[in-house]
Every structure is written in structure tokens, then in C-alpha cells.
């Protein structure tokens, strides 16, 4: 096809001719497929699929076609990127419209022999729905594709990018023809203005306006420049367009040239994109050959030609002035604006500069009309945007969606949700100039303004999804390091300022953060923003400012607690499990000691940081296991299982080092509340030689561990033994002493108490606030459990409904099931994976006959004669995202229903009523109503009062309470002595053997044995049983020993 196209009529004629050849692809109404149906196999040869071997797949298809004598009716077409890069290589069978992914060379043969020849869809190569797990054959039924709206990527994956004929077949160049034959420059610019298209390179400046300014600038020559210097880590939409549909960019640029009066265009593309450059060059040559570039285009007097300029990959060359400086042959450095490129651009002449995605949108606007385009998107941000989804989501790759879709929809509906169902932590948008969006804002509309408000930017559309394994300080450090390395070094704030910020961040990540560092980062970041020369510098601090804004507490933890909760920052992390443990137990240490059968040492090491080894071996929610690196190999180490076996081996109680100190022993310290926080504080104080007194309101110590956690999870004697251990260290526990009733804080002070630790918990259960809840048979879970656990009996109905999804709800349910209940139903308004209760608890509850009624919200308690007879409920559906990053449950449109019951137990939360307890002392509280404390020392706003556990954090876990108690003990000692004496915090050297060169042992993770369900009713025997020794040792050997550091050898 080298005949010149001289007019619109020529072009239209050609289109009709060419489109026929594409009949298979255009027409999806496939007849009943049989082995005679002619077919096309569209194989993606975009960058991602190329890398995963797409060319070999093409060869394999061709070979199979040939071998089976199908050459006449089956064609292989190499297309541009189809989007789901992580699933590559991918292919589409047309006209069947069936999408295959993860194709191997062998699979290609199978597809030909089964699908093409026998009409049998190859099931195992199909996309699997993220929610249902079911394979989906038709590409239009796949969620990932269904919710997209492809404008920029309209032809990518559908045509052969190396054939101008295919572009023309899909009405390519008709927009250019329309413009030059029937529109004035002003009319084209008006269309662009009306379309509302904004620059997709990141800035979002209205494209039409840019064109207008360039059009109005007087000059003898003007240029059109396409910015293809895509450099944001993770973003590759521009490359995909250039590789998959280069003519769309050429057409857009030619239209721009026509609109502003430019005869020359340049595509500035990084040399790291050789495929894009090669395909674009071929496309330019083809367009020139048929007269769509060059002189007198389509018979008009419009002349326009294009050339490619290669950049060497400097990030700053994506900045428009630096890009032009680079095209001019100089070191790519920005120059000040104004004057703007539209007035003084390339070689000092007016220049239109847009990016690939912007130009690729132009033809659609001109041919289909600005109004139609403007129907997409939001009021201020029209059209579609391509995002490059990367990171911890299931479907990574390129997606194009209407602007304004919510982040949550993008991640969960198109992205298929988080990998392994881990909780979403943040999304980083806009690359190094961008910012992070935390889970509180999953509903944010992806448009320019909304993102800016949250301190992020649309940018070029790079979107990195992060779960709890990402450290936000480290993320900021990564991006800042990138920008610092890519700074052109011209202006002081960017060259030196970002370096100084980076140094501070590196220090923080290295565990050497100092008080005031955050403020320093904020001021310096703000100064750089205001004073840097170009866009790169002005936005360089964004990732830092945005992570401080949304994740300040993580910075504080790094600086003050020397803790990286994600287990990422090498300077703060020995092993991620230990970092994840709120009490910083030396997990690799005790696990490896167990592996060598050194149980007493192992237990001693554990108790260095947590006295409740035996209790936690049973009830801890083991966040350590969630961060175990072994998960990347197969599954996490069963840390709790190993611990359980370890504590079973305890014959003589193992208490680590305690120091005698007469001075300390003489000091009076009171601890209010003998729960895990109070007992831990007493334990650590005792190890420093103090003799604190514990006041407990209940008849027995242990707090929630004794009062609400049922004994089938934590046998009473086990807990009592560890409490006795603490008492023996010189701690005086006085039960039945209630704060505010039997004594007051002021009295303690008057009696000479130098410090008080408030560990009173959040002991009051919340009621529902529903009509009818005053009826007989309605109670709340905490009282219900406390009554049974302390008094030994509690009234239980025949048909019990429990409302809530937390551990208290499950404890109450399983307790009721063990007593008199015939049926137990847990009503929860969200889905199962959103239940806060531990998964293993829920599983066991179900095994024990507890029924879950999910997406159900209680509306009213039905009362007859003052007694509960049922509960009216509403069916719920999932809606938008709430601040916890979970989907809200919203009322569905089904009719309400009634669950008959004679007892309703509310388990929807806990609280503490502070004023009657603290009396005249005024203590600062946080917005959530709990006490405000220093994160390191647990000191309250009153110097001599410390607080920790639920009363400071809100309802939380035992291990968090233990950690608070430890901090408070160290804090109290620091206040009294002015020194840091917390000797147990020093790292203990563990001399267990480890061979770093050996391959990891390949034992699988095992579960702990449970007593059979039929043996659980009517008793509270412990359900979970320890392993035998062999199993425990095997499990311990699975540890990868992240704590291992090669010792420097000195000869």
C-alpha cells in the first residue's frame, strides 16, 4: 500500500476496503464455531509479554498451525499490549473473543489442537475471577476488561501496530482528514477546549488552552513536541501506546500541528524503549509513504513531518523545558518559566508540548466529537486515564478507566483485590512527584482535584499498591533517593535540599532518627516545594510530605520507638517477626533454641520481653506470623505452635534475670488493674528491683484474660501460674479494690506513691441502641462472659443470637454453645473476611455448630411480655469504602426478616467510663476518648501517672497490653532514676547453629491438633493441643533465620 492518499474520499474508500480484511476481528457475532471457522490468534507482543516470551509463543502457534495444515484459515497477528501484563504471555482467539493467559509453548499447541480444531476452550489457561475463582472465557465477561473504557488504548491489542492498513481500517487518520478538509484551526482548538481534555503527563493543564496559546503566538515557525520520556517507576502506558498503536500518536500530533500552525514535530523518546522507537519509526515511514505526513497532506496545503529524538533516560528530561533543552542538543536541564513553551519553546519558538497519552486521545475527540468525549469523566476532569497498576494487587498491568472512578473500585473491581487478601495499606500515585493515599480514602475519586487535595497527584498514572508489608518511611526514602539521583543539580533546593532530606530519612531508617526530624523534613520539604526551579524539584518532597501527612505515627515509631512495623528498614529490623511483635520478643532466638531442644533457655529468652509465654502461646493473634518471610517461599512459620510446645516443656518456672535494688524497693509504685498491661508493668518493675502494688477491682487477677477469654482457649491454671510467677518477684496484688470507690489517685499520691500506672482496660461492653433492648434476655457479651468466668454460671437461652463480629462475639457464641443453647447464630453486618475475630476462632465456632449470618444488620428486638422472642434484621450489601479501608455495608432492598430467639447478646464494642475513676485528677484524653500517653514512656499528661493497655489504646490485644506494660515500667523507672535501665532490651546473642549456605528445609506448615468437636460440648476443656516433639522440632527448623548476620571475621 504505497499509493498516496490524496483526499478524504481516498481515505474513506481505503477504510472500507481494509475493514473487510479485519472482518474476523470486527464481527463478534460468531456462528457456532467449528473447525472450519476461519480464525485469528491475536498475540500480545507488548513489552510485558515480550519479556515473558511472546515471540516464542507466536512461533509455537505458527508451527502448530502449519503442522495441522491450518495455514489457510488461521492467522497469527502480533498486537500491542492488551493490559494484564502480569498474566503474560496472553492471546485472544477471534472471532470467538476468548482470552488466554500465562501461555507456554506447549499451551500454544494445545490451543490450536483443542480450541481451533475441536472448538474446546482450554479451561486452565482462562482468566479466573478474583472473587468466585471461576474461569471466564469471553474477554467481555472478565471483570478486569469489562469495567474499563478504552479510548487511548482503543486499538492496543486489537490491531497489528506495524500495519498502517489496519489503523486505517479502524478509521485511523479520518480525524486528521476531517480537520484538514473541513475544520479551521480555531475549530479544532475549540473542539479540544470543549472536550475538556487535560494533559495526561501529570500537570493536567487544559490541552485546548495550550494549543490556543501556541496558535496565538506569532512566529515564523512553530513545533509540536510529544513527550515520550516516560520515567515514573512503574508507569509504562506511553510505551504501550507507542508500541501498540503508534499511528494514533502521529495522527494526534499532526492534528496539533494543523491547529497551531506547526509544520514540524518531534517525539522525544527514551532510548530504553527500543521497541517503541522502532515501531514508531516504521509508522512514521509508512505515514510518509502514503502522504499522511509530508507536504500537502490529504490534498490540503498543510505540511507536517515528524522525527524521533532519543533521550538517554534522564528522569528530568520528562520536564518540558528540560526536554526541549535536550532536543536542542544540550544537557537536559530545565529552564525557568515563564516564558512558557507556547510562547518560547523549542529553539525559542512557540511549541505545543503534550505527552503520548494526550496525543493519542486527540483523534477520538475530533472524529467522534468533543461532546461525546466530555461525557466521560467528572465535571472538571474529562475523558479517561490509563493507570499502570502495580504492587500488591492481583491484576497488575494497564487499565484505562473514566476519570473519577474511585480508587477502591480500581483496586478491587478491576485490580481483583489485594494479593492473599492482605489488608490494603496505601496506594502511591504519580511516581516520585506523587503521594500516597491511605486506606481511609479508598473512596477518593481518581481525578486531578480530589487527588491533589489528599497530597497526591494524578501524575502519569503510575499506581503502586501497598499492603502492610510496605514501610511508608522506606517508601518515602526510596522515592526521594530516586529524585535526588535524578535531580539535574541546577538549583540549590533540589540539589542540596533533597539530599539533606534524604540523609535525614536514611538516618531514620537506620534507627538513628532524632526528635525534631519530622519537623525538619516538613519545613525543608515545604521550602523545596516553594523555591525549586522546575516541576521535578517542586514536587520532589511530595512522597515525604504525603507519607508524613498520612502515616506520621509510622515515622514516630521509627524515630522514638526504633521500630519498623512493616519489618523493612534494615537498621531497625533484626527479623520481621520480631519487629511485628508489639513486645519485640526474640522470635528467631526462641524458635531456634526450641529447634535444638533447649526449651528452658528458649522460654527464658521469651520471658525477657513477655512474661505471659504460656498464655500467649494459646491466645496471641500472632502478627509475627503475618510478617514471616517464609511466606514468600511457602507459608509462615507456625510461631505460636512452636511456642505452645515450648511452654508445655516448662517444669520449673523460668524467670530471667531480676536485679535487687534497695533504693528502688523502697519506692512506692501503684498499678491499677491486674490485666496483662498491669501485670506486665509489675513484672518488669520487679525485675528492676521495685516492689509495686497492684490494685484489682475483680476478685481475681488477670483482667480480660481471666474474665472474658473462655477457659477452653486459656485454662485458668495456666494463667494463674504465670501470675503467681509475677507475685513471687515481690509484687503485691490486692483484689476487690476498685479505683474511685475503694481508693482514689489523689489518695495514692498522698500515701507517698511516686508513680501510678493506670491499666484499667476498657471493661464495659456497649449496648446496641435498638428498640426493645431493655427486654429480658438481652445482654452484652463482656458481662455475659465475665459472669460465667468469674461466677461459674450465667443464664443462657435456647436460641441465642449474638450481634457482632469480633473475638468477644465468637467467645460468647462458643461459650453459649457449650452451655444450654440449642442454636447459636452470630449476626454480622459485613462479610466474613471483614470480621475482626481471629480466623481460627471463627472456624472452630462454625465447627462447633455456631451459625454465621453475614451481611445482616439487626434493626429491632422483638419483645413479647417483656421477653425477647426474636430479632428483626435487614440484608446488607457492600457499598463504598470506609475509613478502615473496608467496604461499608449498606441496606439492600430485600424485605426485613426475623430470627426467632430468646437471648440476644450484643458484642459490638467496649468502652471505659473514665470520670468516676480518675476523680479530680485531670488527664488528657485523645479524640477517641482514651487516655493520651507518650508512645515511648506511656506517661500521661500528669507527670506521675502512666497509662497503657486498653485504657490508652482502646480495645486491643493481650500482646499490645504486655508491650505497653513494659514501656510503662521503663518509663516509670526513667522518671524516677533519670536513666534508661531497661536491661532486657539489649539484644541477646543466641548461639544456636545456622548454616547460611544450606537450602531451607522443605517441611510444610502444620496445624496444632484439636480435640474432636463431639468432645467439646458441655465442657470447657482446652481445644487446642500441643504438638509432639518431633513435629515441633521440624516446625522450628523451618525458620529462615532472618536474624542471622555474618560476623566479621578478624584473623
Amino acid at each position: 500500500m504505497s499509493k498516496k492518499i490524496k483526499s478524504l474520499a481516498d481515505l474513506e474508500k481505503l477504510q472500507l476496503l481494509e475493514v473487510k480484511k479485519l472482518g474476523l476481528r470486527m464481527d463478534h457475532s460468531v456462528p457456532e464455531s467449528n473447525d472450519n471457522t476461519p480464525r485469528e490468534i491475536l498475540v500480545c507482543v507488548g513489552g510485558g509479554c515480550l519479556a515473558s516470551g511472546a515471540l516464542k509463543i507466536c512461533e509455537a502457534f505458527n508451527l502448530a498451525i502449519e503442522e495441522n495444515g491450518l495455514s489457510q484459515k488461521v492467522t497469527v497477528v502480533e498486537t500491542g499490549c492488551m493490559g494484564p501484563c502480569a498474566a503474560g504471555p496472553v492471546a485472544k482467539i477471534m472471532p470467538d473473543n476468548v482470552f488466554y493467559q500465562g501461555i507456554t509453548v506447549e499451551d500454544a499447541k494445545t490451543i490450536v489442537e483443542q480450541h481451533i480444531m475441536q472448538g474446546l476452550v482450554v479451561q486452565h489457561l482462562l482468566y479466573k475471577d478474583a472473587v468466585s475463582g471461576q474461569p471466564v472465557a469471553n474477554i467481555d465477561d472478565i471483570e478486569y476488561f469489562k469495567r474499563q473504557n478504552k479510548v487511548v488504548l482503543r486499538n492496543c491489542g486489537n490491531i497489528d501496530p506495524l500495519k498502517i492498513s489496519e489503523y486505517i481500517a479502524v478509521k485511523g487518520y479520518q480525524a486528521l482528514a476531517k480537520a484538514v478538509s473541513s475544520m479551521s484551526s480555531e475549530a479544532v482548538i475549540d473542539s479540544m477546549l470543549q472536550s475538556g481534555l487535560r494533559g495526561r503527563g501529570g500537570g493536567g493543564f487544559p490541552t485546548g488552552l495550550k494549543w490556543k496559546f501556541t496558535y496565538e503566538a506569532e512566529s515564523d515557525s512553530k513545533s509540536v513536541v510529544c513527550n515520550a520520556d516516560e520515567g515514573d517507576p512503574g508507569a509504562f502506558m506511553d510505551r504501550s501506546v507507542l508500541e501498540g498503536d503508534p499511528h494514533s500518536v502521529i495522527e494526534g500530533m499532526a492534528i496539533a500541528g494543523y491547529a497551531v500552525g506547526a509544520a514540524r514535530g518531534y517525539v522525544y523518546c527514551r532510548a530504553e524503549y527500543p521497541v517503541a522507537i522502532e515501531r514508531l519509526q516504521k509508522a512514521i515511514d509508512q505515514a510518509r509513504e502514503v502522504g499522511l505526513l509530508g507536504e500537502n497532506i490529504l490534498g490540503s496545503d498543510f505540511n507536517f513531518d515528524l522525527e524521533i529524538r532519543m533521550g538517554s533516560g534522564a528522569f528530568v528530561c520528562g520536564e518540558e523545558t528540560a526536554l526541549m533543552t535536550s532536543i536542542e542538543g544540550n544537557r537536559g536541564e530545565p529552564r525557568p518559566r515563564p516564558p512558557f513553551p507556547a510562547i518560547k519553546g523549542l529553539w525559542g519558538k512557540p511549541t505545543v508540548l503534550n505527552n503520548v497519552e494526550t496525543f493519542a486521545s486527540v483523534a477520538v475527540i475530533i472524529s467522534e466529537g468533543a461532546e461525546k468525549y466530555a461525557e466521560l469523566g467528572t465535571e472538571k476532569s474529562k475523558g479517561t486515564k490509563v493507570f499502570a497498576l502495580a504492587g500488591a494487587v492481583n491484576n497488575t498491568g494497564l487499565v484505562e478507566v473514566p476519570i473519577g472512578i474511585s480508587l477502591g473500585e480500581l483496586l478491587y473491581d478491576i485490580g481483583g483485590g489485594m494479593i492473599d487478601g492482605k489488608p490494603f495499606k496505601a496506594a502511591q500515585l504519580g511516581g516520585p512527584s506523587g503521594g500516597c493515599i491511605p486506606k481511609e480514602h479508598l473512596n477518593v475519586a481518581l481525578d486531578y482535584e480530589s487527588l491533589n487535595e489528599l497530597g497526591a497527584i494524578m501524575g502519569s498514572g503510575g499506581l503502586i499498591v501497598m499492603d502492610e508489608d510496605s514501610c511508608m518511611v522506606d517508601v518515602a526514602r526510596f522515592f526521594l533517593e530516586f529524585v535526588q539521583e535524578e535531580s539535574c543539580g541546577k538549583c540549590t533546593p533540589c540539589r542540596v535540599g533533597t539530599k539533606r532530606m534524604l540523609e535525614i530519612l536514611e538516618r531514620i531508617c537506620d534507627g538513628k532518627g532524632e526528635e525534631g526530624d519530622i519537623e525538619k523534613l516538613l519545613t525543608l520539604g515545604q521550602q523545596i516545594k516553594e523555591t525549586a526551579l522546575c516541576g521535578l524539584g517542586k514536587t520532589a518532597a511530595n512522597p515525604v510530605l504525603s507519607t508524613i501527612r498520612h502515616f506520621r505515627e509510622e515515622y514516630e515509631e521509627h524515630i522514638r520507638d526504633k521500630k519498623c512495623r512493616a519489618g523493612v528498614c534494615a537498621g531497625l529490623v533484626r527479623a520481621p517477626c520480631q519487629s511485628a511483635c508489639p513486645a519485640s520478643v526474640d522470635i528467631p532466638g526462641f524458635v531456634s533454641l526450641v529447634g535444638e531442644k533447649r526449651y528452658a533457655e528458649a522460654l527464658m529468652l521469651h520471658r525477657e520481653r513477655n512474661p505471659f509465654a504460656a498464655a500467649c502461646a494459646r491466645i496471641c493473634f500472632h502478627t509475627c506470623e503475618d510478617h514471616c518471610r517464609r511466606a514468600t517461599l511457602d507459608s509462615p512459620i507456625s510461631i505460636r505452635g512452636i511456642k505452645r510446645f515450648m511452654v508445655e516443656q516448662e517444669v520449673v518456672i523460668q524467670v530471667p534475670e531480676c536485679k535487687e535494688n534497695k533504693k528502688n524497693a523502697a519506692k512506692k509504685i501503684a498499678i491499677v488493674g491486674a490485666g496483662p498491661a498491669g501485670l506486665s508493668c509489675a513484672y518488669f518493675l520487679a525485675r528492676l528491683g521495685y516492689k509495686p502494688t497492684l490494685y484489682e477491682a475483680a476478685p481475681r487477677p488477670g483482667g480480660m484474660m481471666a474474665q472474658t477469654i473462655p477457659s477452653y482457649r486459656l485454662p485458668r491454671e495456666i494463667l494463674a501460674r504465670e501470675i503467681r510467677m509475677i507475685e513471687r518477684l515481690g509484687v503485691d496484688i490486692q483484689c476487690n479494690k476498685t479505683l474511685g470507690k475503694d481508693f482514689t489517685l489523689e489518695e495514692l499520691k498522698e500515701q507517698g506513691c511516686e508513680a501510678v500506672f493506670m491499666a484499667i482496660g476498657a471493661p464495659d461492653g456497649l449496648m446496641l441502641g435498638l428498640p426493645g433492648e431493655e427486654a429480658e434476655g438481652v445482654c452484652e457479651a463482656i458481662s455475659f462472659l465475665r459472669e460465667y468466668n468469674i461466677r461459674g454460671s450465667v443464664p443462657v437461652g435456647k436460641n441465642v443470637v449474638i450481634i457482632g463480629g469480633g473475638n468477644a462475639a465468637i467467645d460468647a457464641a462458643r461459650t453459649a454453645a457449650r452451655l444450654d443453647a440449642e442454636s447459636v447464630i452470630v449476626v454480622y453486618r459485613r462479610t466474613r473476611d471483614q470480621m475482626p475475630a481471629y480466623e481460627e476462632e471463627i472456624e472452630e465456632a462454625e465447627a462447633e455448630g455456631v451459625e454465621l449470618k453475614l451481611l445482616t444488620s439487626p434493626e429491632e428486638i422483638i419483645v413479647e411480655n417483656g421477653n425477647v422472642t426474636g430479632i428483626r434484621c435487614k440484608s446488607m450489601e457492600l457499598g463504598t469504602f470506609d475509613r478502615s479501608g473496608r467496604r461499608r455495608s449498606v441496606a439492600g432492598d430485600q424485605a426485613d426478616f426475623i430470627i426467632p430467639c430468646d437471648q440476644v447478646i450484643a458484642a459490638i464494642g467496649q468502652r471505659v467510663d473514665l470520670p468516676p475513676l480518675i476523680g479530680q485528677v485531670s488527664l488528657a484524653v485523645k479524640r477517641d476518648g482514651y487516655l493520651k500517653t507518650d508512645s515511648v514512656t506511656k506517661q500521661t499528661s500528669e507527670e506521675w501517672i502512666f497509662a497503657g493497655g486498653d485504657v490508652a489504646t482502646g480495645p486491643s490485644s493481650v500482646i499490645d497490653a504486655v508491650a505497653d506494660g513494659e514501656k510503662a515500667a521503663a518509663g516509670i523507672d526513667l522518671m524516677l532514676t533519670g536513666k534508661d535501665n531497661a536491661f532486657w532490651r539489649a539484644e541477646k546473642k543466641v548461639d544456636t547453629f545456622f548454616d547460611p549456605d544450606a537450602d531451607p528445609v522443605m517441611y510444610e506448615r502444620e496445624k496444632q491438633p484439636l480435640i474432636p468437636v463431639e468432645r467439646r460440648s458441655c465442657n470447657f476443656d482446652e481445644v487446642e493441643q500441643p504438638w509432639d516433639e518431633a513435629t515441633a522440632i521440624r516446625q522450628a527448623k523451618r525458620c529462615l533465620r532472618c536474624d542471622y548476620r555474618e560476623e566479621a571475621t578478624t584473623w
Binding site: E486, T492, P493, R495, V496, K499, T531, L533, K538
Partner: protein
């Protein structure tokens, strides 16, 4: 005209003005660092930030065009804090050894820190890496002191078109220097020192040779002779707080004498000698061309400027033959002192230490050229810049301003006004024409006050034509000939001129080139910072020195006649050929 408001003061500025220029118009002093009037405005350092209503971020006033209705604030706390942070950041990367720095008390960064009231450093961290480049004789670079303002890059690249210095690397590791982090001796550096002249800090300076001079002065076995270039007298005073353009010839002589120099001579003398030789060379070339019809290379280029010589050797080796074979006045003086004067005082050349005071860093490398030893020893031993002399006078504890005037020593201290103007662009040309014209016609050059005004002043390339009429018989072949001359200063202009000549677009007989803008008065070794205003003042002072002299023409200088009579014979004669002329070689470019 544009109307705008600065700090609530309305004013009008010309179209195309920057906000900085507007501020200066009403006496608001905006601190600057990378900005250098007439040289560079790139908005890089961000010291000149101001606030403009309607623009979110602060803007660099040196590059911000003034616009109609603009409302500018230059002195609010936001602006002051931002500038302060910028300077503190610069200080945080800068090697802060102020006390031992060459630029102590003459450093723009130091003054900024002082003026902005910076009393503590809130930012600290890694310093700019130290690389000391001592590879060349004229210049020393220290990257640890560099603040990346790029003034040096701009003068080297845009003004001199030598392009020896670039920004390289990225981020904090960005450095300024020769390509591939090489030293200056591996690139086409012509040693002009314009980089050192514009450097705001101590990152590029001349090689300090004052200790060598002190050592020579302390050595009783040596006769230490000093020569001072014409441009020094109009600038040295600035080292002592005097106004630019203050003539200090007499004070300088007294100072040198009290420092212990045995003889104080004037490079002006050898400038007169240069005119005799170079004028004769020009006339000889013209004669060969016009009378003998021989192949002669024209135009002839002046050869007084060592950077210009290097420039031709590096970039225009095909035009080496155009250069006059005359040595520069500095080297002629060296050769004369170590032969003619040595004989007079009965010393051997090696017993004499010849010290030059030059406005120039390239003179250091010129003196060290291998071929500059026609006296039997290296003709010139030590070259100091004006700035180095200033340091020495300070060090000697001399109250310069209070000194009495005194005269230089005979016979090589006597000179004409024509020699003085060697310091200015166009000056060598004018001096030559004064002699040549009079030699050929027997009449004085027909310009008012003998000044060839078309080739004077700061325009980059200047030319003039003089038709010779009424010749004396000896030169009658020049009757009616129109002599075409051109003058260029700054190598960028020289390059333009050479390209034209090479392309045959322009025809000249005689071309003067001086490397530094304004000529030697703006040399790389002069007190900093040389702006156009300073240049004008120094130029005027030099012309005043010329006009104040009885002798205005080189050939009238009796000491010159005496030297020819007693020693040299005739211009272009055998001995002068041996002592006063040289040849050039192509230099390889990397």
C-alpha cells in the same frame, strides 16, 4: 513601558526587564549568586527569590519577566526565610574553611551569609566531594568549594566558546569541570581565567605564587626585577578599597620598591617595542603582498594575548600563520631584561629573577612555555596576577592608599601612551596605527586626540578602514591603499570573526584579538568582580594615562630608539628576530 508595584511602590520599567532589574531601578538590593549581569541569568541558585502576587511559589527575580500590573514583595518573612534556607543549604555542602581560603573577605557566599544574618547552620550532611585540580600552571580548581552556580560554565562556553567546563553527573553528585571529570590540562582550556574572575567563591583561582616571589626577594644572590602590565595600574587600587579606574601607577611603583624589588620596569616599554616589531612586520607583509606580489598570509593577527594564541593553536591551527610572530610584551621584556639589561648591570641571566605582574592567569602559562628561553634562561620566572600583588602588599603591611608616588626605573621603565592603551580592547590596534600611519605618511594619525574611536569601546567586534594618502617615498606603494582592520574581544567574538574570515566573508589586513571582555583591563587576574561598569572605568583611566603622557607614540620613545641603537639593531633585525619573535604549533584537541 510596564507598570508594576514593588513593595507597594509603583514604578515603570522597560518592556523586557526582569523583576530584578526593576528592583534595582528603585534601589532595592536583591541578593544574587548565580546571576551575573551581562553574563548569566538562569535562575539556578534561588537566592534572588521574591514573592509575586498570584503565583503560588516564590520566583527567581533574575529570570522573572516584569509584567503589567505585577505586585512584587521582596522583603517579607516568607521571602527572607526562603532565601536564608537556600544559602544555608549552600553552606551545608560548601567546604567552610573560610579563614584559609583565598577568597576570605572577598567571597560572595560569605557576604550573603553575613548580610542575611545567618548565625547558625540548621542543615548539615555530606559535603561536596573534594577534587583539587592543579594540573595547569595558571589555574587551580577545588570542587569542594564549588557551589554549582555555573558562572564559570557560562563564561567558558557562551562568552569564550572554549567549553572546557560543564556540569556533569546528577543530583548531589553534580560537579562542574572538564568533561568526564578530567583535569584542565587534558582539555582545550586556554587559561584565560575568566572562570576565576567570575567565581563567587574560592572554587577556581590562579595558582598562588606569592611565596616564590618572597623567596626570591629574600635571596641575596638574586637580582629581582619586576615588570607591571599596563592594565594593573587601573585596577590594583581596588584591592585596597579604591574606586575602579583609580590610577595607582606611582603608588604601585613605591610599593614594589619598598617590598625590595631591585628594578621596577614597565611592560609598557616592551609594548612600545612590540609596536615597532609588529608594525614593521605588518608593513613587510603588506609590501610583500602589494609590491612583491608574493603569497603572504593576511590578515595579520596580534599575538600579545597568550589565551588567544592557545585558542588559535587549539581551534584554528590552519590560521597559525596569520599570527604575528612577535612575542607578547611580557616575553619581550623578559628577554630584554635577561640580555640587554643583564649586560648593563653585569649579571648572568640565571642570576636575575624576572617577575611579572599581570592582569592575567594565562600569562603564567605563557611564561612557562618551553620556547620562551631565548635569553639563555627562562625569560620570565614568576608571574603574579593583580590580585596576588594585592595580597603581597597587604602581607607586607604597606598602607597602600597613603603611599607617595614614584617613578619606574630606567631604561626599561620608560614608555609612551600608546603602550598604556595595550590594556584596552582596540588599544594595540590604535597604538600600531599611530606608529604605522606616521611611519608611512610622515604625518600623525588623523583621529582626534589620536584615538581610533571606531575600534574602541565594549562592542564585541569592531572594524575600521583607513585610506593612506600622501606617503613618504619609501612607502609609496601604499599610496591610496585602504587598510582594513578589525578588533574583537572575548573569544566568542573572535570565533565569529575568524569564521567570517575563513569563509571569505570579510577581508582585513590587521586584526587585534584580546581574550578577555574589554581587553586586559578585564583580565582573569584582575580584582573581582569585573562588570561592564568596572570595565568602562578602567578603560577610561587607561586612556587618561595615555593622554597625560608627553610621549603618545611608540616610535617616539627614546628608550626604544636607544635599545635598537645599543643592542637590537633594527626592527625585525637578526637579534630582535632571535629574542623578540617566536613560532606556534598546532595543539591536539581531546
Amino acid at each position: 513601558m510596564i507598570n508594576l508595584t514593588i513593595n507597594n511602590t509603583p514604578l515603570q520599567v522597560e518592556e523586557g526587564s526582569t523583576v530584578l532589574e526593576a528592583c534595582r531601578q528603585i534601589g532595592i538590593k536583591i541578593p544574587t549568586l548565580c546571576y551575573l549581569e551581562g553574563v548569566q541569568a538562569i535562575g539556578a541558585c534561588r537566592v534572588c527569590l521574591v514573592e509575586v502576587e498570584g503565583i503560588n511559589d516564590l520566583v527567581a527575580s533574575c529570570v522573572m519577566p516584569a509584567a503589567e500590573g505585577m505586585n512584587v514583595s521582596t522583603n517579607n518573612s516568607r521571602v527572607r526565610e526562603a532565601r536564608k534556607v537556600v544559602v544555608e543549604l549552600l553552606l551545608s555542602e560548601h567546604d567552610g574553611d573560610c579563614q584559609t581560603c583565598d577568597r576570605n573577605e572577598d567571597c560572595e557566599l560569605q557576604s550573603l551569609a553575613h548580610d542575611m544574618g545567618i548565625r547558625e547552620l540548621r542543615y548539615e550532611g555530606e559535603k561536596a566531594p573534594r577534587h583539587q585540580d592543579t594540573s595547569t600552571i595558571g589555574l587551580v580548581r577545588d570542587s569542594a568549594k564549588c557551589i554549582s552556580c555555573r558562572r564559570c560554565v557560562t563564561v567558558c562556553t557562551a562568552i569564550q566558546t572554549v567549553s572546557a567546563l560543564f556540569p556533569q553527573g546528577r543530583g548531589f553528585k553534580t560537579t562542574i569541570g572538564p568533561a568526564f571529570a578530567q583535569n584542565l590540562d587534558t582539555v582545550t582550556c586556554v587559561q584565560c581565567g575568566q572562570c576565576a574572575a567570575v567565581c563567587p567563591v574560592g572554587a577556581i583561582s590562579e595558582r598562588d605564587q606569592t611565596d616564590e616571589v618572597w623567596a626570591a626577594l629574600d635571596d641575596p644572590s638574586k637580582t629581582v626585577v619586576v615588570q607591571t602590565a599596563p592594565a594593573i595600574r587601573a585596577a590594583l587600587g581596588e584591592c585596597f578599597g579604591m574606586e575602579p579606574g583609580t590610577l595607582v601607577t606611582g603608588k604601585m611603583t613605591t610599593a614594589l620598591r619598598s617590598m625590595g624589588f631591585d628594578a621596577i620596569f614597565d611592560t609598557d616599554f616592551s609594548a612600545d617595542l612590540t609596536i615597532m616589531e609588529e608594525g614593521t612586520e605588518l608593513l613587510t607583509r603588506l609590501k610583500k603582498a602589494l609590491v612583491d606580489k608574493e603569497e603572504v598570509v593576511l590578515p595579520m593577527f596580534t599575538s600579545c594575548c597568550p589565551s588567544w594564541i592557545l585558542f588559535v593553536e587549539y581551534f584554528y591551527p590552519d590560521m597559525l600563520a596569520n599570527l604575528s610572530t612577535c612575542k607578547s610584551p611580557q616575553q619581550m621584556m623578559g628577554a630584554m631584561v635577561k640580555t640587554y639589561y643583564a649586560k648593563k648591570i653585569g649579571k648572568k641571566p640565571e642570576e636575575i629573577v624576572m617577575v611579572s605582574i599581570m592582569p592575567c592567569t594565562a600569562k603564567k602559562s605563557e611564561a612557562a612555555r618551553d620556547e620562551m628561553n631565548d635569553s639563555g634562561a627562562q625569560d620570565v620566572d614568576i608571574v603574579l596576577t593583580t590580585r596576588e600583588l594585592g595580597h603581597m602588599i597587604h602581607e607586607a603591611g604597606i598602607d597602600f592608599q597613603g603611599l607617595e608616588d614614584s617613578k619606574m626605573d630606567a631604561p626599561l621603565g620608560l614608555s609612551s601612551g600608546a603602550a598604556d592603551i595595550f590594556a584596552n580592547t582596540g588599544g594595540v590596534m590604535e597604538a600600531a596605527l599611530r606608529t604605522v600611519y606616521e611611519l608611512v605618511t610622515g604625518r600623525e594619525l588623523p583621529f582626534e586626540n589620536l584615538h581610533v574611536t571606531p575600534v574602541a569601546g565594549l562592542e564585541g567586534i569592531k572594524d575600521a578602514e583607513i585610506t593612506i594618502e600622501g606617503t613618504v617615498p619609501e612607502w609609496s606603494f601604499l599610496e591610496g591603499v585602504t587598510v582594513k582592520v578589525a578588533v574583537a574581544h572575548a573569544l566568542g567574538n573572535a570565533r565569529k570573526l575568524l569564521e567570517k574570515i575563513r569563509a571569505g566573508e570579510a577581508e582585513y589586513h590587521f586584526v587585534e584579538v584580546m581574550t578577555c571582555p574589554g581587553g586586559c583591563i578585564g583580565g582573569g587576574g584582575q580584582p573581582r568582580i569585573t562588570t561592564d561598569e568596572v570595565r568602562e572605568k578602567r578603560i577610561a583611566a587607561i586612556y587618561a594615562e595615555d593622554e597625560g603622557k608627553e610621549l603618545r607614540k611608540s616610535h617616539d620613545n627614546p628608550a626604544i630608539s636607544q635599545a635598537y641603537k645599543e643592542f637590537l639593531g633594527a626592527p625585525l633585525g637578526h637579534l630582535s628576530h632571535e629574542l623578540l619573535h617566536t613560532k606556534y604549533t598546532e595543539k591536539e584537541r581531546v
